[in-house]
Amino acid sequence: MVDPRLSIVNKRLAKVEKIIAVSSGKGGVGKSLLASTLALILSRRGQRVGLLDLDFTSPSTHVILNIEGLRPEEKEGIIPPRAHRMKYMSIIYYSGDEPTPLRGEDMSNAIIELFAITRWGALDFLVIDMPPGIGDATLDMIRLIEKIDFLIVTTPSKLAFETVNKLMRLLKDLRMPVIGIIENMKMEESNFIREKAGEHNIPYLGEIRFDRQLEASIGDVDKLLRTEFAQNLREIVSNRLRPRPRGRQTR
């Protein structure tokens, strides 16, 4: 028995230059906000960007970006609709606001299905908002997506880092490409995360200060892009995630 979907996944991504999985071992560290804002920053810089919310049981990027009433076009598969100058894909097109409780095998099947039928076309960046942890979604990205790069998000908390550390070890053991680690919600000076990243030979990309205005910007993209959070992230993108000119190898 052969699952035919597996042979088409990377062909569907053939014209995507760089695929960034925004990941963390821990929930609540700001992955979805970071993935959404990263996608917005890149698209405002004229890059061709796609954003995929892979957090199937708890999708939230549509709330951050205030996306409602869109539906993919059906054309020999599905074509993600455009929102805020980027292609946007989420399970919410099919599950709406209803709870979608999925066990591991179902989660994995839904991920494969989505990658097998979605026609992203040509993109400079596909940003993936990953669910937390090192479960099915992470293992499927490692197993299935040839061009994947991981971007790790943590907070300064030792509790967050405890699980992020496991993600870093897994990625390192499997020799997966890691762009680096971003320290989010930084409140006090500390070198803890920077030093730990160094121990793993993972680039410390920078810190994002805890931003009290961030919550009020959810659902308002222009306001979100004016926050200190977005400004900090923009600096990290400029310094460490500089988009390459089109047509060049990015890895």
């Binding site: 699952d3 035919p4 979907r5 599905i78 989660m107």
Partner: protein, 132 residues
């Protein structure tokens, strides 16, 4: 037209298997299609015949439908999936991503959404015959 995307996947996977097995030509392709995804067999067959790679040019393609069976993990109740009672939006959503069945379907005995798709989920290549 989800059928085209899946037909493309079948074509690509069949060629991959054929090349791996050192086949010059695939003569027979047996495909199993689960009922949960509600594939339009006519469109799927048409897409497949349109997309077929040179290696599959003369292949006999056999499609076998399989009824979708669900089993509740909470109470053990088993039932067959039928799209008849579903509204079009729900049926279409399950067509695209069969796992959103967990969003809309519940066990008729205990109401749990925690069920297993025992069989009949999607498209599988059951077997391939060819000449070396």
């Amino acid at each position: 037209m989800h059928e085209w995307a899946l037909a493309e996947a079948v074509n690509s996977a069949a060629v991959e298997v054929g090349e791996k097995e050192g086949l010059k030509e695939i003569t027979e392709l047996n495909i199993r299609i689960g009922g949960l995804q509600q594939i339009d067999l006519e469109i799927f067959e048409f897409a497949l015949s349109h997309l077929r790679a040179p290696m599959l040019k003369n292949a006999k393609i056999n499609l076998k439908s399989e009824e979708a069976e669900l089993k509740c993990r909470a109470c053990g109740h088993r039932w067959s999936f039928s799209p008849k009672d579903l509204c079009q939006d729900v049926s279409e959503s399950i067509h695209f991503i069969p796992e959103v069945a967990h969003t809309y379907l519940k066990c008729s005995e205990c109401g749990s959404p925690d069920f297993e798709i025992v069989r009949g989920r999607g498209v599988w290549i059951e077997s391939i015959k060819g000449v070396r």
